[in-house]
C-alpha cells in the first residue's frame, strides 16, 4: 500500500484523488461502489460544509456528500489540485 495514501476526509477542497482502497463494509460498501467510489476512479473534493462534515465529492460527474464516518474509510492518492 502506498504511504502517500490519504483518507478522503483529510483532503482539501479542490484536490483530485485517485482511489485505491474502500474500507467501508456491508450494504453501504455496495452502495458506494455503485455510485462510483471504486478503486482506480478519480474523485474531486468539492467543498466542506461549515463545520467540516459532511464533505461534497464529485464522482462520475455527480455530486455526492459523505459523512466523515464513511469518507475516513475511503483512501486514495492525491494526483492534482491543492496539496494537503
Amino acid at each position: 500500500m502506498p504511504t502517500t495514501s490519504v483518507p478522503l476526509s483529510n483532503a482539501k477542497s479542490g484536490t483530485h484523488i485517485r482511489l485505491n482502497r474502500i474500507e467501508v463494509q456491508g450494504v453501504l460498501r455496495r452502495r458506494l461502489l455503485d455510485l462510483g467510489f471504486v478503486p482506480g476512479n478519480v474523485v474531486e473534493v468539492l467543498q466542506k460544509s461549515p463545520l467540516g462534515d459532511p464533505i461534497a465529492f464529485r464522482v462520475n460527474n455527480t455530486t455526492i456528500a459523505l459523512r466523515k464516518e464513511e469518507s475516513s474509510l475511503i483512501f486514495g492518492d492525491i494526483i492534482g489540485g491543492e496539496t494537503s
Partner: protein
C-alpha cells in the same frame, strides 16, 4: 399474433418513463409485484403485428444494494423472466449508467441496451461510439431520444428480434479473479442440481458468494410456491442441510 413481455430497467432520471409513455401512450396502469408494495407501471403497445406488454421497473443505480426498489427490479428480471429487458442508459453519464447495464447482462442475455438522451449528449459535445459499445457489451445497442422520438423504430426492431429469438445475444462474460472463479466453479454444480437451469447459475453463484441474503430469501419463497417438482427438491435440500 404473438405477445411478448418487455421490462424497462435503468438509473433514475434516464428517461425510462418518458420512453414508457412514448411507447404505450395512455394505455397504462400500475402493477404490484413480488409481494412488495412498490408500484410499477404496466402498459401495452404494438409493433410489426406483435403485441408487447411493457413493465417500467423502479429506477435504480444497482440491483445489489438491497433497497426495496432494487429487490423488486431484480426479482422481476430473475423470476418473471421478461422476453426482453431494455436497459435505458443516460448518454450524458454513461460511466455511472453502465454499472447497471453490466449487472443486467450478467442476469439475462435477452437484453437490448438503449442509450437515451442522445440529442442532449450531442449538444454537450459527447460523441458515442455505438458500434464499439455494442461490440463490447455483446447485445444490440441503440441510441434514442425518447422525448423527441428519435431512434424509436430502430429500438423496437431490435427488441422484436431478441424477443422472438431471431437474435440470441451473447453478452460480455465478466471474468473475476482466480479465487472467485474457483469458488464459482465449486458452487455452480450444486446450484444446477437444486434449481435446474431455470435461473442464471453463474449469477446465483455470484450472489451467494456476495452473501446476498435478500436474494436467498426471495429464492426460498419462490421454491416453496411453484410446482410439485421443485417442492420435492426443496424438501431434499432441507434434509441435507439439516444433517
Amino acid at each position: 399474433m404473438s405477445r411478448y413481455t418487455v421490462a424497462l430497467a435503468g438509473n433514475p432520471n434516464t428517461g425510462k418513463s418518458t420512453l414508457f409513455n412514448t411507447l404505450t401512450g395512455l394505455r397504462q396502469h400500475t402493477g404490484n409485484w413480488a409481494g412488495k408494495t412498490v408500484m410499477m407501471a404496466e402498459g401495452e403497445f404494438s409493433y410489426d403485428k406483435t403485441t408487447f406488454r411493457m413493465i417500467d421497473l423502479p429506477g435504480t443505480y444497482s440491483l445489489y444494494s438491497n433497497s426495496t426498489d432494487e429487490e423488486v427490479a431484480r426479482d422481476y428480471i430473475i423470476f418473471e423472466k421478461p422476453d426482453v429487458t431494455i436497459v435505458v442508459l443516460d448518454a450524458t453519464s454513461l460511466e455511472r449508467n453502465l454499472n447497471l447495464a453490466l449487472q443486467v447482462l450478467e442476469m439475462t442475455n435477452r437484453a437490448v441496451v438503449c442509450i437515451n438522451l442522445i440529442d442532449e449528449a450531442k449538444r454537450l459535445g459527447v460523441r458515442i461510439d455505438l458500434q464499439k459499445i455494442e461490440q463490447r457489451l455483446g447485445v444490440p445497442t441503440v441510441a434514442i431520444s425518447a422525448r423527441n422520438r428519435i431512434g424509436i423504430d430502430k429500438l423496437l426492431k431490435q427488441v422484436k428480434l431478441v424477443a422472438s429469438g431471431q437474435i440470441n445475444p451473447h453478452p460480455i462474460h465478466i471474468q473475476y479473479s482466480d479465487e472467485i472463479e474457483r469458488k464459482l466453479a465449486e458452487l455452480e454444480p450444486s446450484i444446477r442440481e437444486n434449481l435446474g437451469s431455470q435461473y442464471p447459475t453463474r449469477w446465483i453463484a455470484l450472489r451467494l458468494l456476495d452473501g446476498d441474503e435478500s436474494l436467498l430469501s426471495s429464492l426460498k419463497k419462490r421454491m416453496n410456491e411453484v410446482t410439485p417438482d421443485s417442492v420435492r427438491e426443496v424438501a431434499s435440500y432441507g434434509r441435507t442441510a439439516c444433517h
